[in-house]
């Protein structure tokens, strides 16, 4: 079998924050009735965390669940386990109306690390990034300049971004430009 490779193969940029293209991450997009007890239970067994509430994101390492819309979740699992986890989901939810698809290779993920991480996002998205408006535990689906993206904060100085693989390079270039040394605004410092 051919080797799976992440879109930018671990590219890295050191600006006033570190921009890193992340490696392979298993992702399952799930659609269904999120309030159903069966669904809650199945998601918990697969992802290991509770069902997130509106715009919440429960992540620990490379597993977790993010709330994408009133009927959609993005489930994170280790890349190698995706097929097994999908089988598990299908088995647990047999007879239920739902959809679960492996989208691991259709997404790109970036990681921003540094004190200016909020600022880099604020330059590119129409989102209030002040610490009292957005923080760890939340996910925000929005746009990054011209492409759709979603991001969350694993801790107060880092941001994780997920976007479509087809626009991975555009996304990386955007983040690089926004993180260029000397372009700090100091808005949230």
């Amino acid at each position: 079998m051919s080797d799976a490779v992440s879109p930018l193969n671990g590219a890295k940029y050191e600006g006033f924050v570190t921009v890193k293209a992340m490696g392979l991450q298993g992702m399952i997009t799930f659609r269904g009735d999120l309030s159903a007890a069966k669904v809650k239970k199945a998601v918990k067994t697969v992802a290991g965390t509770d069902m997130p509430g509106q715009r919440e994101c429960h992540m620990s390492g490379d597993t977790g669940v993010a709330w994408m819309s009133p009927d959609e979740l993005l489930i994170f699992v280790p890349y190698a386990d995706v097929d097994a986890k999908l089988d598990e989901l299908h088995k647990a939810l047999e007879g239920q109306h739902f959809l679960a698809v492996n989208v691991s290779d259709a997404r790109a993920m970036f990681h921003l690390e540094g004190n200016g991480a909020r600022e880099v996002i604020a330059k590119l998205s129409p989102v209030d990034m002040s610490p009292n408006a957005f923080g760890p535990g939340e996910i925000r689906r929005t746009r990054l300049a011209q492409i759709p993206a979603a991001f969350w904060m694993p801790d107060t100085t880092s941001v994780q971004i997920v976007c479509f693989r087809s626009v991975a390079e555009y996304g990386f270039n955007l983040l690089k430009t926004a993180a260029e040394p000397g372009s700090e605004v100091g808005m949230f410092a």
């Binding site: 819309s69 009133p70 929005t142 746009r143």
Partner: protein, 109 residues
């Protein structure tokens, strides 16, 4: 610039995160209707100076459709509400009445 609050995901986002979808509360006339009805459905759209009810989609977000009541002159947004409604909810109508007494939009006022 409009600031709309998506009733589906609760995000208060600015205009560029959303996509406008034309007039709200359209009654569709398709097969079985006569030519005049179909013509009116297709072409006779409201284009008011003032209170307007519109469809919007949270395109760069949760992707859901919703309806919004706003003013095309002052750019004020009176409120947003679920797409699965036949008329604007009472609190939004009251809010509009408080700002624009005697307003009307198609059959609503």
């Amino acid at each position: 610039m409009l600031i709309l609050t998506c009733p589906c995901c609760g995000v208060a986002g600015e205009e560029t995160e959303f996509a406008a979808g034309g007039e709200a509360h359209l009654k569709r006339f398709g097969p079985g209707s006569d030519d005049d009805q179909f013509h009116d459905y297709l072409f006779m759209k409201e284009n008011p100076k003032g209170v307007h009810l519109e469809r919007w989609r949270h395109a760069n977000g949760c992707g859901k459709w919703f309806l919004a009541a706003r003013n095309t002159v002052t750019m004020e947004v009176y409120g947003t509400y679920a797409a699965q409604t036949y008329e604007p909810p009472k609190e939004i109508k009251d809010k509009i009445s408080a700002k624009v007494p005697g307003w009307s939009w198609r059959e609503f006022s």
